[in-house]
Symmetry: C2
Subunit: 415 residues, 2 copies
Amino acid sequence: MERLRKIGFSRLTPLEEVLEKLLSRIQLNPIEEININESLNRILAADIISKIDIPPFNRSAMDGYAIRAEDSFNASPKNPKKIKYVGAIEIGETSTYKLHKDEGIKISTGAPIPEGADTVIKIEDTEIENEIIKLYISLPPGKNVSKKGEDIKLGTQLLNKGTELKAEHIALLSSLGFNKVKVRIKPKISVFSSGDELLEPGTPLQPGKIYNSNTPMISTLINIYGGRVIRGETIKDNKSVIKNKLIEAAEDSQIIIFTGGTSVGTKDYLPEIVSEAGTILTHGIAQRPGAPVLIGYLNETLIFCLPGTPVAAYISFLNITGLTIRKMLGCSALDPRTEVIATISKDVPVSGLGYLHYLRVTLEKSQEGFTAIPVKLKGSGIISSLTFSDGIVEIPPNQEGLKKGDTVKVKLFPK
Amino acid sequence: MERLRKIGFSRLTPLEEVLEKLLSRIQLNPIEEININESLNRILAADIISKIDIPPFNRSAMDGYAIRAEDSFNASPKNPKKIKYVGAIEIGETSTYKLHKDEGIKISTGAPIPEGADTVIKIEDTEIENEIIKLYISLPPGKNVSKKGEDIKLGTQLLNKGTELKAEHIALLSSLGFNKVKVRIKPKISVFSSGDELLEPGTPLQPGKIYNSNTPMISTLINIYGGRVIRGETIKDNKSVIKNKLIEAAEDSQIIIFTGGTSVGTKDYLPEIVSEAGTILTHGIAQRPGAPVLIGYLNETLIFCLPGTPVAAYISFLNITGLTIRKMLGCSALDPRTEVIATISKDVPVSGLGYLHYLRVTLEKSQEGFTAIPVKLKGSGIISSLTFSDGIVEIPPNQEGLKKGDTVKVKLFPK
């Protein structure tokens, strides 16, 4: 912590405290209604209560004859009961016929049980000749009938607001008759990467320059987390350029993300700009990588200044900006990552108590479970340390590291 | 197996055998080049080999002075060496100046080391007055310099074809200078749900009818697995209607998916239609749910007839159709699902050896790991058994069930 203090951070705030301060400011985004076919990964904005019974009617669970159970009582292969064939009901059809004593209607699986009938006898337990049906077994009332509302009762709450919609939710909603669904509008987000050394990918490499990977990476993460990128630019490290971009983007963005220029070096203008044009909420977080993060706001627009080193920017997005987006969307699970339990493969000392450390690991699966293997790293700039990892282990600020064999939680990278 | 044999399946094929026969027929889809910003979840069609070194030049890792290490030898706080200040290099700039003995150039983190210099001394280990820099420590050559190609060497293969692109891959590709990427074209897929009982969601419920949830569910799964839905319709259970739809859709679809009408009941026309219009590859799979699956082809178009019951259709898609799509795309991991290890919470007997059983489970997390809790079900039609589960445990055909405490693999639902 000494180095960062030395170069200008008066205090590094614990992540927990930052999130508390940040997320308590967030209001839910407005609601829109969209077609269910476009609702994958969107967040439900209202509880889903069934307006129908499922099945919506008493339904045959077999191909057979709809009968009155009592007409089958005491029937046996040796002593069949005989009833009269009075018609047939196919799936999708209904019958207005009301069944009388000693009558049977042929019925398909899924077709509605006609009035008067209470039971279905399977086709293989009968024989028919000259419109006389022989019943070879005795059945109790309700046999082979799926009762109206047996699966889902009208009025049941089935999905809670805040649910992220997947194929199985879309199936359930459709089966309840919904073709539209209420979700929260995606936050509009602007992304800027600042740095005089940055080149656009796809252009020729120039001396002293490197390619900007942060804008494409952050834009992709925004899509994964449910935001909408309305602007993605590489800009020069020039105070008035950055300030103008900030003020311009604040007009139509709910969130503005900068990468780079957020530390306290000579060309790190962002802290100055944000404090001049808006308000700084926090600057400097007790995490590694990712300490220089700055969070502020300008009117209603939130500003995230993430480190310029890609890995630090990636991890800070996952732990701060991503959660903010999902809070705006009303997600019940703010962090979308799958968490697995693993055993760490070796000792991991940490340098610097007081920091939350993010350890990149690969996972190896065995019969007993997962082993987490720390990825050797050389710095927070090396993107390949992410592409070659499976997820992140968080080592809390008050913990001196990990011992080989410790049980750890691995947060898999978001998909 | 007896029931299915009775109602017409002469033989149920093991899933493994079905997949072998099916997947060996699949050819890779053609390649297209797309913008990297649109490449999330697409599948790389070519290996990625770095055309540059990263860093592309010897780069300063600190704010300080670029010097010749030997000029610092024997320097100490009490006995500083003195060199001449000859200029400054900011990040993104280059200098043509060639450093001579006893000269230093001010340099920012990330800026290129000028010719002649081999070391960077940190600003805090120096003092400057009247263009004379005092060096307070002795440094070895290469100190605080990130060597050209140190992270990634030109010519290194970094990503393999078949990789599913996520934010971290997009970041890596951008950092290598790629703004476009080669991926395989999404297969065009038509989806039909047949059944006279099916109503479109969003229309009023009618007597004897139920809402069609299969078309929206299968369409969503197709999107998740990387296909493109070009047609999604609910159709009547009428032989000539279904046959015409099949023939029409085969003109422009690589895959056609039907749900419903695939068993061997009176209105199950699909086996007849596929064998008349095309060729049946397999009909009847030794799995539960999902036994009635039929797979066939018509010219180059693959036909999947999945069961009409939504859960069976869902699971069959995951285990058969989804893998087919990903094979066309050249995915190195055909099954995209995350697999976790868990302990089963209670005995699970299975009825019917010879079937691969799919057990829906919820997961509970504790300090020790995951517990998988079987979801109580009433049938393969109940979609809520999916929405209330986390994943599926597969019980192999030759296994009599699970014992409480057994270690199982849970395949989480695809996201």
